[in-house]
């Protein structure tokens, strides 16, 4: 049952991916002007040669199938602006940075968010619950591009004074992923996720704590720590699995801003720069990459959810 469900879901993801590729490809092609329209018109023969080199002289539908064929082999084509690089190479260069940022952010968000959520649920409707939820509300409403400069101002420009020790954090640059350079970007990226996760966990935890089997566990005389960690938490964390997909999508969007602000050499910055420079192949490649990544993770989350929760039915 599970395998056939997984198989059906994978089959279902293929048309979605195809729609994304098609949509992105033709949106690029209806753009007025070609990528090689300069200030000065090239001589006709040179222009014809250049167009032929990039297959741009063929009809659009033929270009589309050529692109699809190359895509199957993992080739996203040459970048129009960074002439000596292919899009695949550029993504491969940015990927480690983006993954490292994203993984750190999601790890912190999961740990901190779960802790805060459980804490708030155990103190439901008490001042500490309200204050945690108020902070979560701030985290959800205030966007990344506001928190990033504000934190930069606070920690980078003014510096902070903790226990008489004054220090300030680097506000930009990658420096091969040194810890001080990671702190601000990862904090900014993790903040909204911490807020959302803590709200999610609090909600499900409050519900689980009211359920019969938790009452049974308490009645057996188990310590409340054991009840929470061994019995309640397992069920309460289930909704987090299905939040995994949206979380990754949120991190991807957030990384556009964070990488731009902190000047980090990740994929998100390539996308923004590619868009501003009209490097269409690069933009197309990054969109396809991000989209397939998000779809894949959604798929994994859905399948995992059904493994973890046997009550969910496979049909439909």
């Amino acid at each position: 049952m599970l395998i056939s469900y997984a198989f059906r879901r994978i089959l279902g993801a293929i048309p979605t991916l195809l729609i994304i590729i098609t949509l992105a490809f033709f949106m690029m092609r209806i753009a007025p002007g070609g990528p090689f329209d300069g200030e000065r018109r090239l001589p006709a023969e040179v222009e014809a040669n250049v167009l032929a080199a990039y297959d741009l002289d063929k009809p659009v539908h033929e270009q589309y199938f050529i692109y699809l064929g190359r895509l199957l082999k993992g080739d996203l084509g040459p970048s129009f602006r960074a002439r000596d690089f292919t899009v695949t190479e550029m993504i491969a260069a940015g990927l480690p940075v983006s993954i490292r940022l994203g993984l750190s952010a999601i790890t912190i968000a999961l740990l901190l968010g779960t802790t805060l959520g459980v804490f708030a649920a155990l103190r439901q409707n008490r001042p500490s619950d309200f204050s945690v939820m108020a902070i979560a509300m701030v985290g959800i409403t205030i966007p990344t591009f506001v928190t990033a400069p504000l934190l930069t101002l606070l920690f980078g420009v003014y510096g902070v004074n903790i226990f008489g020790l004054e220090f300030s954090l680097p506000v930009g640059g990658w420096n091969n992923g040194a810890l001080p350079n990671m702190i601000l970007p990862v904090t900014v990226l993790a903040l909204p996720q911490v807020a959302i996760i803590s709200r999610l966990v609090r909600g499900s935890m409050v519900e689980v704590l009211r359920s019969n089997y938790v009452r049974t566990a308490r009645a057996k005389g188990l310590s409340s720590l054991r009840v929470v960690t061994r019995h309640a938490l397992r069920a309460a964390l289930l909704p987090l699995v299905s939040y995994l997909g949206p979380a990754i999508a949120g991190l991807a969007t957030g990384s556009l801003i964070v990488e731009q602000i902190f000047g980090l050499p990740g994929i998100g910055r390539y996308f923004v720069q590619g868009a501003l420079n009209r490097d269409y192949t690069l933009v197309l490649g990054v969109v396809i990459f991000y989209a397939s990544f998000v779809i894949l993770l959604n798929l994994i989350a859905d399948i995992l959810y059904r493994v973890l929760d046997p009550r969910v039915r496979y049909d439909r």
Partner: protein, 311 residues
């Protein structure tokens, strides 16, 4: 059950006619007005809107007038003494990096951000209601097909497509409204469809049908008023989402063009010069954060007020 005598029945009918029943809306308004956070948010939001609409009346300066002698000057009351210069007069928020009054620019930014919020939400509302009501009312395989389409669209990373659109059409302002609205209609369609499905099966619809009301009468008199509640709640949550999307684009340099401005543009400019003039970041950021907060509180308040199950 005791039988009701004809005379008694007449009395009952009469008293029912004189005692006006409290409608859902009166009830909801009463509950909303008791919610302090929501009422305070409405007052704050109303003030921001008034400031934005009548922006030219509140300041003697033009939003695009450049005063070269006051470039990046702090407001007169700024507490930090290390600033380069101070602007006097009605430059309450100081000056931006090219010497324009920041107060008036923040208000003009509010105009654009709020306008985008309203218009794009209306676009999403129109598409969402039409699509959702059609799917819900027709039901069956049409409904299945239409909703499957929505499912597929859901998994697209839309912000990327909006960015592509803005690049291709060279930051067309009208397109900005349409593109963001077209992104936000999906959830609206789902809500309307779900609501329509459940409403059309209820007894009062059957009663209306039995009383000879036609399908359009049923939709307009009975289905839509019962769908409106959740839709209103979702609208108050869509507006801040749209404002965010626009600011996001503007922040990346893909939104509105100079010399017009929006909160996103102002925040981006402020972020660039925050070392020398932090006020250029702080004021627009505060305005935007407060506005987003207000919408969220109003949305929460409306949901509590309109959802009778949660009382």
């Amino acid at each position: 059950m005791t039988p009701v005598l004809p005379a008694e029945r007449a009395g009952l009918v009469e008293s029912a006619a004189t005692v006006r029943g409290r409608s859902l809306w009166v009830d909801a308004r009463r509950r909303l007005m008791r919610n302090k956070a929501a009422v305070a948010s409405m007052i704050v939001l109303g003030s921001v809107t008034l400031l934005a609409v009548f922006a030219p009346l509140f300041s003697p300066y033009d939003f695009d007038a450049i005063d070269f002698s006051l470039v990046q000057c702090a407001p007169a009351w700024w507490p930090d003494d290390s600033v380069l210069c101070r602007a006097d007069g009605a430059h309450w928020f100081g000056m931006d990096a090219v010497g324009r009054d920041l107060f008036v620019r923040t208000l003009y930014g509010a105009r654009v951000s709020l306008a985008v919020g309203l218009v794009a939400t209306c676009v999403s509302l129109l598409i969402g209601i039409a699509y959702g009501a059609t799917a819900g009312y027709l039901g069956g395989s049409v409904d299945n097909l239409m909703m499957r389409f929505v499912d597929i669209l859901y998994s697209l990373p839309f912000i990327f497509f909006v960015i592509i659109l803005m690049v291709i059409f060279d930051r067309n302002f009208i397109l900005l409204f349409v593109a963001i609205g077209a992104v936000e209609w999906l959830t609206m369609a789902r809500i309307v469809r779900g609501q329509t499905l459940s409403v059309k099966e209820q007894e009062f619809i059957e009663a209306a049908r039995a009383a000879g009301v036609g399908p359009w009468g049923i939709i307009s008199r009975h289905v839509i008023p019962n769908v409106v509640g959740p839709v209103i709640v979702y609208v108050t949550l869509t507006i801040p989402a749209v404002i965010l999307a626009e600011s996001f684009l503007s922040f990346l340099g893909l939104g509105i063009r100079e010399p017009m401005t929006s909160w996103g543009v102002l925040i981006a400019e402020g972020a660039n010069s925050l070392q020398t003039s932090p006020w250029t970041l702080i004021f627009p950021a505060t305005f935007m954060a407060v506005t987003l907060f207000c919408f969220n509180f109003i949305g929460d308040g409306l949901r509590d007020a309109l959802d009778p199950k949660d009382r």
